[in-house]
């Protein structure tokens, strides 16, 4: 009898241990904890997840490939949150069969994603972008932009479709390179109420040309809307980007869903939080109408 009870007790004890080990803590791999936006995503993830997670910071010199591989094989976590491309690629290479949630990867489409991997894109949903543009500039009817076939054609088409939903006509002009923009500029700006500066690696490759483009728009009293924070300092009137702390929280939400057996319907979600920089000084200089209600939603107001 005693033997039976003891066996039963040991079985129950082992079953409990097994159950606990099934839900291991997630592993966070950070491409470089020294980079502010990566750190912000990690911090908000840890706060939102409500439990401890192990962290590997690839910015630390000790993480050579051999050491990293050994650590990942030893830990063999069920689920990984990878912040940045370096972290995601490392996790994919060594334990790609595991569930990985990534964030903070610019243009994630250039990376091959394996099944069972999820992510949050770095770029806001085009619908969110156009809604926020409408929020700041309710009188804008026609918006011009440049795009390249190779990098931003898809983004342009997505924006165009979303623009229709907000009552804005978006007119894109295909260019091959930065030099084309000079000659195409005046024609592109004719009849435009605003100009969108897409984050195209070709079009943004020459800072001087970018500044000239922005200056030309401002001379013609056409507000520039961009998606990189640095453009605000260069004279853009409005900058829209991803709110990184929200991205960390969103990654925690995705992992919670996956753990509940309800993975997100869309493998790569758009960011749930937006960040706005309103360059009020520029807007007032241009004397273009804007909705001052946008100030409530601005993360930063340049005055």
């Amino acid at each position: 009898m005693v033997r039976i009870l003891l066996t039963l007790y040991l079985s129950l004890f082992c079953a409990t241990l097994y159950a606990e080990s099934m839900e291991k803590k997630p592993l966070v791999i950070n491409s470089n904890g020294g980079v502010e936006k990566y750190r912000a995503a990690q911090t908000s993830f840890m706060e939102a997840f409500g439990s401890e997670a192990a962290v590997i910071d690839l910015g630390e010199s000790r993480w050579n490939p051999k050491r990293l591989k050994q650590r990942l094989y030893d830990d063999y976590p069920d689920i990984i949150y990878a912040i940045g491309a370096k972290a995601y690629l490392a996790a994919s290479e060594y334990i790609g069969e595991k569930t990985i949630v990534f964030s903070s990867i610019v243009n994630y489409r250039r990376i091959a994603m394996e099944p069972g991997h999820f992510g949050i894109s770095e770029e806001l949903h085009s619908g969110m972008q156009m809604t926020l543009i409408r929020h700041a500039f309710p009188h804008v009817k026609r918006v011009a932009l440049f795009y390249t076939e190779r990098y931003t054609k898809e983004w342009y088409h997505a924006l165009k479709k979303s623009a229709q939903q907000t009552g804005i006509e978006l007119v894109g002009h295909a260019v091959n390179g930065v030099d084309d923009t000079k000659s195409a500029m005046d024609a592109a700006l004719d009849g435009a109420d605003a100009f969108v500066m897409l984050s195209d690696p070709v079009l943004l490759s020459d800072t001087r040309q970018v500044q000239q483009l922005i200056d030309r728009c401002n001379e013609r009293k056409i507000p520039v809307i961009g998606f990189l924070d640095s453009l605000a300092e260069m004279g853009a009137s409005l900058v829209l980007s991803t709110d990184t702390p929200t991205t960390g929280r969103q990654a925690a939400s995705m992992i919670t869903s996956i753990r509940r057996g309800q993975p997100p319907a869309v493998r790569v979600q758009s960011p749930a939080g937006s960040k706005l920089i309103v360059n009020l000084r520029q807007i007032e200089e241009l004397q273009v109408p804007y909705d001052d209600d946008v100030l409530q939603n601005a993360n930063r107001v340049i005055q």
Partner: protein, 264 residues
């Protein structure tokens, strides 16, 4: 000895007088906390307010991001003047004698309503990711009344920077429900009618007052209260108010005072 006694008396009176004067010195800082708003531009808020207030006199603005720190500070500061939500006003009123001086308005409305929203296609009210701009604890409190159908323990809260983000998160599939305000929803209807058509309001909460300017002592707050009341008459002052999502601060109406006394 007589001179010594006189000197001592003069010193004592002088000390008492300056002490009384110091005690009567008004507190010229407006303290702000609103747990129902995710304002992540605190530095901008303080800079913009200080720039305006300093021009009007030796006034300043101090926002708080943490409720505990805010409550600790206002409870231990004499003649404090604060700008808070109705919920915070009621919480502090339990053990502080507060007087409402001004009520915030937006487009001449001093009240607002919280709502819960989901996608039109979510007829079964399924899912559990709740997006909102509220502080986490407050999101749970608000959800308990607006998402009655849901199992509270199963809900997962996703905090986003602004009410519009919460609505767009539901619309674009990053969340299942949004806790937001009727105004934000009406704004989305104007900004993106096609997206707004895909959403529906499933519950409306009680009406609450917007921000309240309150003081623990009324005699010294009159000058700053007058200044705050006239902010909307100046472009720079209006800008400050707009950053808080309001456009005026006015004396409370009879209805507002009754509302504050009732509905506890």
């Amino acid at each position: 000895m007589r001179r010594l006694r006189l000197a001592f008396q003069l010193f004592l009176y002088g000390y008492l007088i300056t002490g009384v004067y110091a005690d009567a010195e008004p507190n010229n800082t407006l303290y702000y906390f609103n747990q129902e708003s995710s304002i992540n531009n605190f530095k901008e808020l303080k800079t913009t307010f200080d720039r305006y207030l300093l021009k009007q006199g030796a006034y300043s603005f101090q926002p708080f991001n943490d409720e505990e720190a805010f409550q600790e500070h206002v409870r231990t500061t004499s003649r404090v003047i604060m700008l808070v939500s109705e919920w915070e006003y009621r919480a502090l009123s339990r053990d502080m004698a507060l007087k409402p001086l001004l009520i915030a308005e937006k487009e001449q409305e001093s009240t607002t309503q919280r709502i819960a929203v989901t996608r039109v296609s979510n007829s079964g009210l399924e899912g559990y990711i709740v997006a909102s701009a509220y502080h986490p604890g407050d999101a749970e409190r608000i959800a308990s009344s607006l998402l009655e159908h849901a199992n509270e323990d199963a809900l997962h809260y996703l905090r986003v920077p602004k009410d519009l983000d919460a609505l767009m998160s539901v619309g674009f599939g990053m969340a299942d429900f949004a806790l937001t305000t009727r105004e934000a929803y009406e704004d989305l209807v104007k900004l993106n009618p096609a997206l707004a058509k895909e959403l529906k309001v499933i519950q409306t909460g009680k009406t609450v007052l917007r921000l309240i300017v309150a003081t623990s002592s009324d005699s010294d707050a009159l000058s700053i209260a007058e200044l705050l009341e006239s902010m909307d008459e100046h472009p720079e002052g209006l800008k400050c108010l707009k950053m808080l999502g309001i456009d005026a601060l006015n004396k409370p109406s009879k209805e507002a005072l009754i509302h504050l006394k009732d509905n506890r």
